[in-house]
């Protein structure tokens, strides 16, 4: 299919007599968590680099992994890291691209962004279905200054399997033993309660529509939808607000040199300012891609690490630190 496309593009450019250089099209698919940045990058890169077109479809981490295994795409994005043995079994290479935060959003009348505080017990209690009303004594005790209405809590979560859910349920498993025992973590789990929304925008939509709802989504989506975010408790017991600063505080802890195959989960990291639901998003490439395509992709990813970093920061994602980029270049790109 891809060859056919490239072929027809070639034929078309030759026919129009516009350019004689070969057109390279790099196709990627996967995680929707970093999709806002990836789409910005692919557009900017394709504009600035004549002859190369990069596409990224936000289809979800699991779908991206399936597609790269089936060789239907050239690279995949995933928030759900693959262990080293999985990568080797499927002839894949994985490296980190960005760090970002998953935030908790609420639609409670009278509650503005970053006003509401939820600690580990109330967060897990709500998602376990044990705390069902916003005027619950435990929530009130944490928020003495807020007027919380007598309103049912409607839990919203992802209906599809997703890397965002992986990060979020991983966080819940770390803060609540009951969650870890009853539900566990994964890109889709058996949710005790909650309405399912399709992808990040679906969750935002449902939270915006339902009074008394609570949901989780990637930070950029929450900002775009203008939804009220919640302060959460981190490993040090501090309440933190979600922003690029608290995401990078969590990311600073990561010890990449001791992570085989770059397998790393960044939830519930130590540090006074660390945001507890921070996640890494990865790129997967095949080892058996032909050399020309591999070179084009590595050029692109190198551009993402350097020139792309500014755009990522603007969109509230944290680029991978310089020293980690060097490890990626040494181990994967070489």
């Amino acid at each position: 299919m891809k060859n056919m496309l490239t072929g027809s593009t070639l034929a078309l450019t030759a026919m129009l007599g516009m350019s004689a250089t070969a057109q390279t099209t790099i196709n990627g698919a996967g995680a929707s968590f970093p999709a806002p940045v990836y789409q910005n990058w692919t557009y900017t890169y394709s504009q600035s680099k004549p002859g190369v077109t990069v596409n990224y479809q936000s289809v979800g981490s699991g779908a991206g992994i399936n597609q790269i295994k089936a060789k239907t795409v050239d690279f995949a994005g995933s928030d759900n890291p693959l262990k080293l043995e999985d990568q080797e079994k499927n002839n894949l290479q994985q490296f980190p691209m960005l760090t970002g935060g998953v935030v908790v959003i609420v639609n409670v009348p009278g509650v503005k962004s970053n006003q509401l505080k939820l600690d580990n017990e109330t967060m897990s209690g709500i998602y376990l279905g044990k705390i069902t009303n916003w005027n619950d004594a435990k929530i009130k005790a944490l928020n003495p200054g807020l007027k919380l209405p007598d309103l049912n809590i409607s839990v919203v979560r992802r209906a599809d399997s997703s890397g965002t859910s992986f990060i979020f349920t991983n966080y819940l498993s770390k803060i609540s033993k009951e969650w870890a025992d009853k539900v566990g973590f994964g890109s889709s789990v058996k949710w005790p309660v909650g309405i399912g929304g399709q992808k990040n925008p679906g969750v935002c939509n449902n939270v915006a529509r339902i009074r008394g709802s609570i949901g989780y989504t990637e930070y950029t989506y929450a900002i775009e939808a203008n939804l009220a975010m919640v302060q959460l408790q981190n490993k040090e017991g501090q309440f933190v607000t979600p922003d690029a600063k608290s995401f990078s505080a969590a990311a600073a802890n990561a010890d990449w040199s001791n992570a085989p195959g770059f397998y790393m989960v960044l939830t519930y990291q130590p540090g006074n300012n660390s945001w507890p639901i921070t996640g890494v998003t990865y790129i997967l490439i095949r080892k058996d891609t032909d050399a020309a395509m591999r070179k084009a992709m590595i050029d692109y990813f190198n551009w993402c690490f350097t020139a792309g970093a500014t755009a990522a920061l603007k969109m509230h994602y944290v680029p991978i630190p310089e020293n980690v980029v060097k490890v990626v270049r040494d181990k994967v790109f070489k």
């Binding site: 049912n152 409607s154 209906a159 566990g184 058996k190 309405i195 399709q198 339902i210 009074r211």
Partner: protein, 304 residues
């Protein structure tokens, strides 16, 4: 000349045959792809309510219950509406009947994803703010076992309501056709014998058109069973057993649409098994409908 005839005969046979082969192919394909599930859980898959991707345990019951309950609600709402609308359109003055008939038909032309968007942005908030509070606070329906006082606008009732609007034009169109075929002579005789309009409708039109009404029910049933997009938006996509008509649930088609892109291994097999169940349900309804209509046609004195 003879050759052309023979060729044409074989062509037609081939075309007719393809349909049968395709149908068989669907069943076989779905069955093959879901083998893993049938091997692992057997028929217990159908009655199990567990759906846990973490432990790889799957069951179809929540999806089946969700499919059936939304369909039943849709039919309960749509049938009387379609029946009355069809009666009126048939008996109304021609211009008016035409306009109203066209309007009902237009409902069928709206793509289902538009119904879904409308459901999410308009109907769900209306349900949460007005209809569900009215049912609970004013009608005190939460005393009934299948209604709860917890609601958020999503769920089985909302999905059933959207479905009812979607199947209404199909049911109505079939009913109209049948009512129109009631011989004028019969109706005139009834009026002549001193029957009121209601009596004529009840005893003549309804008796004569029972086949059409049942036909309409089955067409509506078939359509409601498989509807995906509109339901996906408002059902709530909860993989658990619903306790009441306000609770979120999922239907077979919504489960398929929501999970297929990401599924692999056992989960993928479970989704194929759900597809097989849905196909079997639709197939059974069609077969039953044909059989029932055939068996009862003699009693209604129709020539077959």
């Amino acid at each position: 000349m003879f050759k052309v005839d023979t060729a044409f005969k074989w062509l037609c046979l081939g075309c007719a045959g393809i349909i049968g082969v395709l149908m068989m192919g669907f069943f076989i394909q779905l069955f093959m792809s879901s083998m893993e599930i049938w091997n692992e859980f057997g028929l217990g898959f159908i009655v199990s309510s567990e759906w846990n991707p973490v432990t790889n345990k799957y069951g179809a019951l929540p999806s089946i219950i969700g499919t059936l309950s939304t369909t039943v609600i849709a039919l309960i709402i749509a049938l009387p509406l379609a029946f009355c609308a069809a009666l009126f359109i048939v008996d109304a003055r021609p211009q008016m009947g035409n306009i109203l008939g066209q309007a009902v038909d237009l409902l069928a032309a709206i793509p289902s994803v538009i119904y879904g968007m409308w459901g999410l942005f308009v109907l769900a908030p209306i349900m949460q703010d007005y209809i569900q509070p009215f049912m609970v606070d004013k009608l005190r329906m939460d005393k009934l076992p299948w209604v709860s006082d917890e609601f958020n606008g999503f769920g089985i009732l909302t999905a059933g309501l959207i479905l009812s609007i979607m199947i209404l034009p199909y049911i109505c169109a079939i009913m109209r056709d049948v009512f129109q075929m009631t011989p004028a002579m019969l109706k005139e005789s009834a009026y002549g014998a001193g029957c009121t309009r209601w009596e004529t409708t009840k005893d003549i039109v309804l008796k004569y058109g029972i086949r059409g009404i049942l036909g309409g029910v089955f067409v509506g049933l078939g359509r409601a069973l498989g509807e995906t997009m509109a339901v996906l938006f408002v059902i709530g996509n909860m993989m658990g057993m619903p306790d009441n008509i306000f609770s979120g649930a999922t239907t077979i088609s919504a489960t398929l649409a929501g999970n297929f892109p990401e599924a692999d291994g056992m989960q993928r097999s479970a989704l194929f098994a759900l597809g097989l169940i849905l196909l079997a349900m639709s197939f059974a309804i069609q077969v039953f409908a044909q059989y029932y209509l055939h068996a009862t046609s003699a009693k209604r004195g129709e020539a077959r």
